[in-house]
């Protein structure tokens, strides 16, 4: 027997993911689960499932979960965290959920610097409802509700949530990551860990934005979808840190 260097995290349940082949929700779930387990907080973590493709992720995380109304996960997280400040609370939200219907909730959770962690999955499309335009859909990108390609004169330019949230004084840690190759997956995990550490240390609001893919609704093979992330999404949604606790410490 060799030395096991990688195995399925106990932060995940035994249940198989219901996602389409090649959907990066699975990678992101794994990273969150691994971090929670490695930080030793799995048994006191409470997660919040959104509305979207990951609506049923309460079945996949091996911790207590609440399923929230569309966009309201930050409010639900606030309710939980305020009455149970010693628990670790995270929400998991897609771009329709967080960047469209739930903009008020995410902005104000950041503004109050709620001591929660938000996992934001941006794949530039509404996956669950059948490939409609999202607020993050790229200019020219064809979806079922932007059949001629997103026209900025009609639908505006894609919203950059991390940049926007980073302008909020209460936001403590904001980072955008991608999972299109192993190197970036490893970087992404560090960001998730940092986000949860920010919460564990009581420093306030943390959010990690994942640039993600949707092979099925984009009409691409899983690998082509990741290439599209690299070639089209990342140039518009630059990766990196937008806000960190250290920076806040410096400014204090």
């Amino acid at each position: 027997m060799g030395n096991v260097v990688f195995k399925r995290s106990n932060g995940l349940s035994k249940k198989e993911f219901s996602y389409c082949p090649g959907c990066t929700h699975g990678i992101i779930h794994r990273l969150v689960a691994e971090v929670i387990e490695e930080l030793g907080v799995l048994d006191k973590t409470i997660g919040i499932s959104p509305v979207g493709c990951s609506v049923m992720n309460y079945e996949f995380f091996n911790c207590d979960m609440q399923q929230a109304a569309h966009g309201r996960a930050p409010a639900v997280a606030t309710g939980i965290k305020r009455v149970r400040p010693d628990n670790i609370v995270f929400s998991y939200q897609g771009d329709g959920d967080l960047a469209s219907i739930g903009t008020a909730e995410i902005v104000h959770a950041a503004h109050r610097s709620e001591n929660i962690t938000v996992i934001f999955v941006n794949n530039a499309i509404y996956g669950m409802t059948g490939g409609q335009m999202a607020p993050t859909t790229l200019i020219g990108q064809k979806t079922t509700t932007s059949p001629y390609g997103r026209d900025e004169k009609h639908a505006g330019k894609p919203i950059k949530m991390s940049e926007m949230l980073a302008t909020i004084p209460g936001a403590t840690y904001i980072e955008r990551v991608s999972v299109h190759d192993p190197l970036h997956v490893r970087k992404a995990k560090k960001a998730v860990k940092k986000a949860f550490q920010t919460q564990i240390e009581g420093k306030g609001f943390s959010l990690v934005e994942f640039i993600s893919s949707c092979p099925v609704n984009w009409g691409k093979t899983p690998q082509d979808a990741l290439n599209w992330v690299k070639d089209n999404m990342i140039p518009y949604y630059p990766l990196g840190n937008f806000r960190s606790p250290e920076e806040d410490d410096k400014n204090d």
């Binding site: 207590d64 979960m65 609440q66 399923q67 929230a68 409010a75 606030t78 309710g79 009455v83 628990n87």
Partner: protein
């Protein structure tokens, strides 16, 4: 604590604290803002949480989260705000979470006005949001009854794992009245909250607070389970008061502030030798249908009085089932009638019956 003079909104806030409320999430709206203001000043002294949310929508979803995490939670608002909260209320009912919601009703529709109204009757008693559900709803008529029912509401919410709404009109929120906050109210035998998300701490399997049932068979099962619960509430939680029913030739059905005005009208009528009774629903859902079987034979008609254009009227019609003639008297938009107007409506009806 002895009797004190309190304003309705602050008495309701204190009653919630006395009822074991540990968290409040809300958003200001007239005429209930003194309630969150009171809790902002006092909640922390009782180890509770007060948070002003960014909207009613957020507030009710915070209630969902906190309740799902096992806390006794309150939110309050007024009619248009309650409309915004319906999304969350539906989720709370669907996920079978307890919550207490106070609705200090004002005139509508739309922005309406800020004066007292009972025009939310249907919003309150028909579930209000999407799906097959009801909220247990009480419409008390004075501060003592309001305070008592709020204290009890937290137990009832926990017992049935369902939202409980206290629907009072703006006058009850704004008026002063003597009240004793420490009147004993019935306690219920409450089960452990083993469904609450408080972390597994290695002691049990993870739990999930949820209202999603994608398999229609599962959702039907869930809906029938909820329906059984509502049947039980209908059986056990109907609450009403009869006033002056002996030999009454007419029964007025009225609740809340309207019932107070009717009481004065009954006195005037009595002095004129006209015997009229009052059925005062205290629970408006479940509606006190049992009461309609208890009317004496002398009753020849029913007059429904509301601060609306006629909403409870439908429930009165259902319970009456075509037996007796029914008239309606209502003022709305924040207009509150004088007892004399009801006296006239009674006389008109009696005249018509003869």
């Amino acid at each position: 604590m002895a009797k004190v003079m309190m304003k309705g909104n602050e008495a309701m806030a204190l009653a919630a604290i006395k009822g074991g409320c540990k968290a409040f999430f809300g958003y200001p709206i007239t005429p209930q803002s003194e309630l969150p203001e009171y809790l902002a000043r006092h909640m922390h002294k009782h180890g509770g949480v007060f948070l002003q949310a960014e909207s009613e929508v957020a507030a009710i979803n915070m209630v969902y989260g906190a309740s799902g995490a096992g806390a006794r939670v309150l939110t309050s608002s007024s009619s248009p705000g309650i409309a915004l909260k319906q999304e969350g209320i539906s989720y709370i009912a669907g996920a079978e979470l307890p919550a207490v919601i106070i609705n200090v009703m004002r005139g509508g529709p739309g922005l309406g006005g800020i004066q007292p109204s009972q025009a939310d009757y249907k919003q309150v008693t028909r579930g209000g949001g999407n799906g097959d559900y009801y909220v247990l709803a009480y419409a008390p008529e004075n501060l003592q009854e309001t305070v008592n029912v709020i204290k009890e509401a937290f137990d009832l919410a926990d017992l049935y794992r369902n939202p409980v709404m206290i629907a009072v009109d703006g006058l009850i929120g704004q008026m002063m009245e003597p009240v004793d906050l420490d009147v004993e109210v019935p306690k219920r035998d409450l089960p452990e909250k083993d469904w609450a998300t408080i972390g597994t701490y290695g002691k049990r399997e993870p739990v999930n607070v949820n209202s999603l049932f994608l398999d229609p068979q599962d959702l039907e099962n869930h809906s029938f389970k909820l329906a059984e619960k509502y049947k039980l509430m209908k059986k056990n939680e109907q609450r009403y008061e009869f006033v002056n029913m002996e030999n009454a030739e007419l029964v007025i059905v009225a609740y809340g502030t309207m019932a107070r005005i009717v009481r004065s009208a009954l006195e005037i009528l009595k002095n004129e030798g006209i015997n009229v009774g009052l059925l005062r629903p205290i629970s408006i859902w479940p509606f006190p249908e049992k009461a309609f079987k208890e009317f004496p034979d002398t009753v020849k008609g029913i007059l429904t009085c509301e601060l609306s254009t006629g909403q409870m009227l439908d429930d009165v019609k259902i319970c009456n089932n075509g037996k007796l003639p029914i008239n309606f008297f209502g003022r709305t938009g924040g207009m509150v009638p004088e007892p004399e107007e009801i006296v006239k409506a009674v006389k008109d009806m009696i005249g018509g019956l003869k």
